[in-house]
């Protein structure tokens, strides 16, 4: 595939969605993404999505497979000095690093930006963390909806007159949007590095990304301390209504009797009638609706070579989505292949790394 990032290689320490999806979006644009995990530390999505306890369970998580398609996977122990040495060797052959470890983890392994810049000055290093790389809260722990709360989004979400709401564990909204922004910034820095030969340290705060989506509210509050938030709800003159079949629709319109009008009709009939009157209306789709409506799904969902459903593109390039060239890697699936190809390792070196436990294909951990 020839894409805007063909020729760019990414050393991917990304985990869960925020990090791993940024690298996935770079892969979709043509970058060669090599994902680094280890037997002692798997991408938590391998464990969160555990389907069973049978051999190879760590390779079957839907969440992991959804996010990590089009990547090659290596397992190298970051805590082992020999593993660290191999990763530093790989970094010489890479253009981009993506990581979303807790702050300090890569520095302790001798793999932080300063160390990698010494051996590869053109490296673009994307550090994605919940609070950013500086400031008094840089070491704070956070998980998904923590940032709905601390970013301000929750304060604007909820039923009228009731408590604020978070997007919750099945959405974890702030985790989902960071890669949409971070990918564009990484591409911008790659353009600069191609031109100047100098890389960059890109410090992303997921909480700031989430607050950035409320820029106008922050701006309004700064200009007028008495500025009050609009009451929580679905907005003014628009709401969700229940139809005769028990399904909900959203309607950007408000007139007396609309609720009972909806209650007299099935969902699809109500939406069609409202749209015909020029009123924005839509079904409140669930996951099965999204799977079934292929034209609505566009290019956002695709199948890998095993027929498994995986994440597609959020946009179209020349009208098209992506084809999945590789399913998500099994743990350590491409360790030998990549070390031979990029570092010229032979059988003896690969066997030695395997015997000393630096490389592996099975986890040494259970739950995360």
């Amino acid at each position: 595939m020839n894409g805007p990032l063909t020729g760019v290689r990414v050393l991917d320490f990304g985990l869960l969605t925020a990090g791993a999806n940024t690298s996935a979006m770079l892969a979709d644009l043509g970058a060669d993404v090599i994902k680094i995990e280890s037997g002692a530390y798997l991408d938590p999505f391998r464990v969160v999505g555990k389907m069973d306890d049978d051999e190879g369970w760590w390779n079957r998580s839907p969440q992991f497979r959804f996010t990590n398609r089009n990547k090659r996977g290596l397992a190298l122990n970051l805590k082992d000095p020999e593993g660290q040495r191999v990763i530093r060797e790989l970094a010489k052959h890479c253009d981009v690093v993506v990581e979303n470890f807790r702050r300090g983890v890569l520095e302790r392994a001798g793999l932080g930006y300063q160390a990698l810049k010494e051996i590869n000055p053109r490296i673009v290093f994307a550090a994605i963390s919940s609070q950013g790389d500086t400031g008094p809260e840089r070491m704070n722990v956070s998980f998904g909806s923590t940032l709905d709360a601390t970013s301000g989004i929750a304060s604007l979400t909820g039923y009228k007159g009731e408590e604020p709401r978070i997007s919750g564990m099945d959405v974890n909204y702030p985790d989902q949007i960071v890669s949409l922004f971070a990918t564009g910034i990484v591409i911008t820095a790659v353009m600069e590095a191609r031109r100047s030969g100098k890389g960059a340290f890109l410090d992303f705060s997921q909480r700031e990304v989430a607050s950035f989506t409320l820029g106008e509210e922050i701006l309004a509050a700064s200009a007028d301390p008495s500025h009050s938030l609009a009451p929580r709800d679905n907005g003014t003159q628009q709401d969700a209504y229940c139809c005769r079949d028990g399904r909900w629709i959203a309607v950007a319109h408000d007139e007396p009797g609309l609720a009972s009008w909806c209650a007299d009709r099935n969902r699809d009939d109500a939406v069609a009638a409202l749209l015909a009157r020029g009123i924005a209306a839509a079904p409140c789709n669930d996951g099965n609706d999204l799977l079934n409506d292929r034209s609505l799904a566009g290019v956002t969902l695709v199948r890998d070579e095993h027929g498994g459903l995986v994440k597609g593109l959020p946009y179209r390039l020349d009208g098209k989505g992506i084809t999945i060239e590789r399913a998500a890697p099994d743990l350590g699936q491409h360790t030998d292949e990549v070390l031979r190809e990029l570092l010229g390792y032979g059988d003896a070196e690969l066997t030695k790394l395997k015997k000393s436990g630096v490389t592996s294909t099975t986890p040494t951990v259970g739950d995360v």
């Binding site: 722990v141 998980f143 970013s151 978070i166 959405v171 989902q176 949409l180 890109l202 409320l214 946009y315």
Partner: protein, 368 residues
């Protein structure tokens, strides 16, 4: 950073604001172009006579100016063109032939002109092309419904809720920025740049991928769980806190709350906690009532528990972390005065991208 050292300074981008375009599309277009402008691109915003309708959109500042407009149009120049006239369109075509990229919306009257210009087209639409629905009425609420996000938020027996803010527009705007960056990188590398098309409906579904992934894995769609959810919002002395913890953080959470009833076998596993969630929350709720959000955050963080205090946009102005990182930039607008505005949520080699004030319509350059 001085503008001379900004990373996108070499690029010229046109943002076309044609008349009669749904607001939710315009917000996405303007956000994408704003990010490029803050990064140094020369962004020319083409407004209709009378201006972009977002200039009147709430929330309003005490001066009467729109905070939404001020946030979404930083660092741009503005030019008024009547695209309903032949000379207006001719002017636009000349501008597009001198520019690298053009952002516009699908229902715009100039869409086919923009698609054929030398500038790479970045098109923002409501729906995927397959739906053939360019004229369909649309709104932020309708997109959050269609993409399945509303189905995920609220109580199962009550109406679904939208997530606060303009999240459908913002997620699409971030996506359009990344598409723009990919197109510029292709041009910069001497390749033909792809035509980028972003639809709000596809982006929303992409963001909400866990609904589709969950439905595909089990046949049952995830949905709003409300008071049956593992993550809930608890009232405390001065507001609310989101209770969030992972499986590995449960023992620390139990220790933090310190109620011996939590040691009961029925709460030992995730399945057990889900089954007995009402009882679990009844036990932990009193712990929150006499504590402030700050106390809760400090105590929880010291135990490694990611509880999230809920802040309003106004409270974010004084957040220690945001102040320390300088996330909110002081900006002096020639007509409005001093404002605090969120900067791009990234620091590049430790430096932020200070936005320049949005252009006023009175000072917009008139077409030749």
């Amino acid at each position: 950073m001085t503008t001379e050292s900004l990373p996108l300074r070499r690029f010229t981008i046109v943002e076309v604001n044609d008349a009669g375009v749904p607001l939710c599309l315009r917000l996405a277009t303007s956000l994408a172009a704003k990010i490029a402008a803050d990064l140094g691109a020369d962004v020319l915003k083409i407004e209709p006579p009378g201006g972009d309708p977002v200039r009147q959109a709430p929330p309003l500042l005490p001066s009467g100016a729109s905070a939404l407009f001020q946030f979404l149009n930083t660092s741009k120049r503005s030019l008024v063109l009547d695209l309903g006239t032949e000379s207006g369109r001719a002017n636009l075509m000349q501008l597009l032939d001198r520019s690298h990229a053009c952002l516009f919306e699908e229902p715009a009257s100039i869409a086919s002109l923009a698609r054929a210009a030398k500038a790479t087209p970045i098109e923002i639409a409501a729906f995927p092309a397959e739906m053939d629905a360019a004229a369909r009425p649309v709104s932020e609420l309708a997109i959050q419904a269609l993409g399945g996000l509303m189905h995920m938020i609220g109580e199962p027996e009550r109406k679904p809720l939208k997530l606060g803010g303009h999240q459908a527009s913002c997620a699409a705007g971030l996506t359009a920025f990344t598409g723009l960056a990919a197109a510029l990188a292709a041009r910069d590398a001497g390749q033909r740049a792809p035509h980028v098309r972003v639809s709000l409906a596809e982006v929303m579904q992409w963001v909400n991928w866990k609904a589709a992934s969950g439905a595909a894995a089990t046949g049952v769609s995830p949905g709003r769980e409300g008071k049956a959810s593992e993550f809930q919002v608890m009232p405390c002395r001065d507001g609310h806190v989101a209770v969030v913890y992972t499986v590995t953080q449960w023992p620390a959470t139990r220790t933090l709350i310190g109620d011996p009833r939590l040691n009961d076998e029925k709460f030992a596993t995730r399945a057990g906690r889900r089954k007995n969630i009402a009882e679990l929350y009844a036990i932990i709720a009193p712990w929150f009532t006499d504590k402030t959000r700050a106390e809760i955050q400090k105590t929880a963080q010291s135990k490694g528990v990611p509880f999230g205090p809920i802040f309003t946009p106004a409270e974010l102005l004084e957040t220690e972390q945001y102040v320390a990182r300088g996330f909110l930039a002081k900006m002096t607008h020639p007509e409005i005065g001093k404002l605090l505005i969120p900067q791009l949520p990234v620091q590049w080699n430790g430096r932020s991208f200070a936005p320049r004030p949005a252009p006023s319509l009175e000072r917009a350059e008139l077409a030749a």
